[in-house]
């Protein structure tokens, strides 16, 4: 039963992915392309966040730290060396090593700190990275940031669009497999009851670190793509706003669903786009941020478990088959 459902889900996703793959060849709007690229990048970032929040139950307020490391690694490599594919790969490697290392250390701290305290610690760590980016001016040019060239291949927006799409789908599949693997199930157990997981014979810390590193590295990759899409990087990549974006996208879409992170990213980016467009039509929308805020509030009221979370509960309720209850991931 569940398997069939799962397959249908995968089928839908594949169809959508194929559609997105063909899009740039049939539809000429560059603007849409860029918007979608942005959506893909943030989807990756939000999914990496969902792995922590939704599957392992770790709240981090400092996820921007990994995003920023990725963005700066790419920027600095491209600025300092020739923008070739080799250098690009080197930058990717550096990002993976750096984010892996930092997320490993940060993951170790989950041992010591619970909930709010861990969240605030990550907030302060990412704050320190922000200061570092500010102060290490010979490398980063301070908060104004710097522009850089990117490898030939990525200059073409269609190519880059496709790259981001492919990476996003790959990350989705990897995380899907990761969370549905025996290891992933243990992560959910940790989310539910850490102490009991321990006494079942699972080394909780190892899992938390695994999730943290996985999530950190993927966030770093999102940062890389972000930097390439802008060909510019400044300290804003370490800002709280970036973390909040991931948080919002994940929650709006539905925590612990992965696909929710993608939908959340799409929704926020498009809502943003439309609202700012509306600002040109009517003065009321010049303060479009108010409407944005109202959307958040309405989402909580009408989709308390995020869009995907709530919709899947509804459809499950409609079927009314208490005997074969689908496993539910709860938000919170």
């Amino acid at each position: 039963m569940r398997l069939i459902q799962g397959n249908r889900m995968t089928a839908i996703i594949l169809v959508v992915a194929a559609f997105l793959l063909l899009l740039p060849f049939v539809y000429e709007s560059r603007n849409l392309l860029i918007l979608l690229t942005q959506v893909f990048v943030f989807s990756i970032f939000a999914m990496s966040y969902d792995l922590l929040l939704g599957f392992t139950g770790i709240v981090s307020f400092g996820h921007a730290m990994f995003f920023g490391i990725g963005a700066y690694s790419m920027g600095i490599f491209m600025k300092r060396f020739e923008p070739t594919l080799t250098v690009f790969l080197l930058a990717v490697l550096t990002t993976i090593v750096l984010t892996g290392f930092v997320s490993f250390l940060v993951g170790l701290l989950t041992l010591r700190l619970k909930s709010h305290f861990y969240a605030m610690l990550t907030l302060s760590l990412s704050g320190l990275f922000l200061v570092l980016a500010e102060k290490w001016r010979t490398m980063t040019y301070g908060n104004d940031g710097f522009t850089f060239r990117v490898p030939e291949l990525f200059i073409d927006r269609t190519n880059f669009y496709l790259l981001c799409l492919v990476v996003m789908v790959a990350v989705f599949l990897i995380l899907k497999r990761f969370t549905n693997s025996p290891l992933g199930r243990v992560l959910q157990a940790i989310r539910e009851n850490e102490q009991r997981t321990e006494s079942l014979g699972f080394q909780v810390l190892h899992y938390k670190i695994a999730a943290s590193v996985m999530s950190g590295v993927l966030a770093g990759i999102a940062g890389i793509l972000y930097a390439i899409s802008l060909r510019f990087v400044n300290t804003s990549v370490f800002a709280m706003d970036i973390t909040l974006d991931a948080l919002l996208m994940t929650i709006i879409g539905g925590v612990g669903t992965l696909i929710g992170a993608i939908i959340g990213a799409g929704l926020i980016e498009f809502a943003h786009h439309w609202l700012t467009e509306l600002a040109k039509e009517h003065w009321i929308f010049e303060r479009w941020i108010i409407f944005f805020g109202i959307i958040y509030i309405l989402v909580v009221m009408f989709f308390p478990r995020g869009i995907v979370g709530t919709l899947s509960t509804l459809s499950w309720k409609r079927k009314q088959q208490p005997a074969v209850k689908k496993e539910e991931k709860i938000a919170g």
Binding site: R177, S181, P182, N193, L200, Q203, K325, E327, I330
Partner: protein, 252 residues
């Protein structure tokens, strides 16, 4: 007699209050031992020390002659000491089946596998179902654990422990809150495991009839100290136990 679990001088103090006070016991292999004692005597705390939830302030714990005092709960479970909890302690937002499946998975040693779908391990699910059937909970396999009635949670708790198939079973009041009607079934399970003869069981209970029925030996904790350790008959005759623990109940 070779002892499987041995404690020497085991003590723990919480800010001035010594909850377990220099307890030295030795439990032979395939033995069934019960622990009784007034509320707050330190029984659960003693379990917490054995299973690694707490670290003793003093004393040592040996398992098969090996010092495991510094082992983490995880490693003790892996070494073969499993436990159930007095206050129900399950994964509230996972299904009953998934709760047990996780225990089966741990027992099978599949811990870091991240490349395959968990459904690939179909046998885990079947095994989990078997355990649920054993504790009469299979009809609830799809419910979220948080939605179970209290007694049902107790059964789940037991199923999870059994699924670990550890050599040592530490049972902390497994039947508290279980209905009169169903206690026998659970007792039956415990008895059967005992009869299979390859497990060592330590049981905390306040139900005397059960203790008398099952135990090879009974130890009595009192204010953290080991007051007595002996056969059920000996213990029942002990006057301190009668006056301070049992009260007049058995008179009826």
């Amino acid at each position: 007699m070779s002892s499987l679990i041995e404690t020497t001088d085991l003590s723990i103090t919480f800010g001035g209050h010594t909850a377990v006070d220099a307890v030295s016991i030795s439990v032979p292999e395939k033995h069934f031992k019960s622990i009784i004692g007034p509320n707050g005597a330190g029984k659960t705390t003693f379990f917490n020390l054995l299973s690694g939830q707490l670290t003793p302030t003093q004393g040592k714990i040996y398992y098969r002659g090996k010092d495991i005092t510094k082992f983490s709960p995880t490693n003790r479970t892996r070494a073969g000491i499993g436990r159930s909890f007095q206050i129900t302690n399950v994964f509230p937002n996972l299904t009953v089946l998934e709760n047990v499946r996780l225990a089966v998975q741990s027992q099978a040693g599949i811990r870091y596998q991240m490349l395959f779908h968990y459904k690939k391990y179909r046998t885990f699910e079947e095994k989990a179902l078997e355990w649920l059937r054993l504790v009469l909970l299979d009809d609830k396999k799809g419910s979220l654990a948080s939605n179970l009635a209290h007694g049902e949670k107790r059964k789940l708790e037991i199923a999870m422990l059994l699924a670990l198939e550890t050599e040592v079973l530490l049972l902390d009041e497994p039947t508290a809150g279980m209905s009169l009607e169903e206690v026998p079934a659970i007792l039956e399970v415990i008895k059967r495991i005992k009869e299979q003869g390859n497990r060592t069981i330590i049981l905390i209970e306040h139900k005397m009839d059960m203790i008398l029925d099952l135990s090879d030996s009974v130890m009595v904790l009192f204010n953290g100290r080991l007051l007595a350790d002996g056969t059920p008959e000996e213990i029942m005759k002990n006057e301190t136990v009668q006056s301070a623990y049992l009260g007049g109940l058995l008179d009826e």
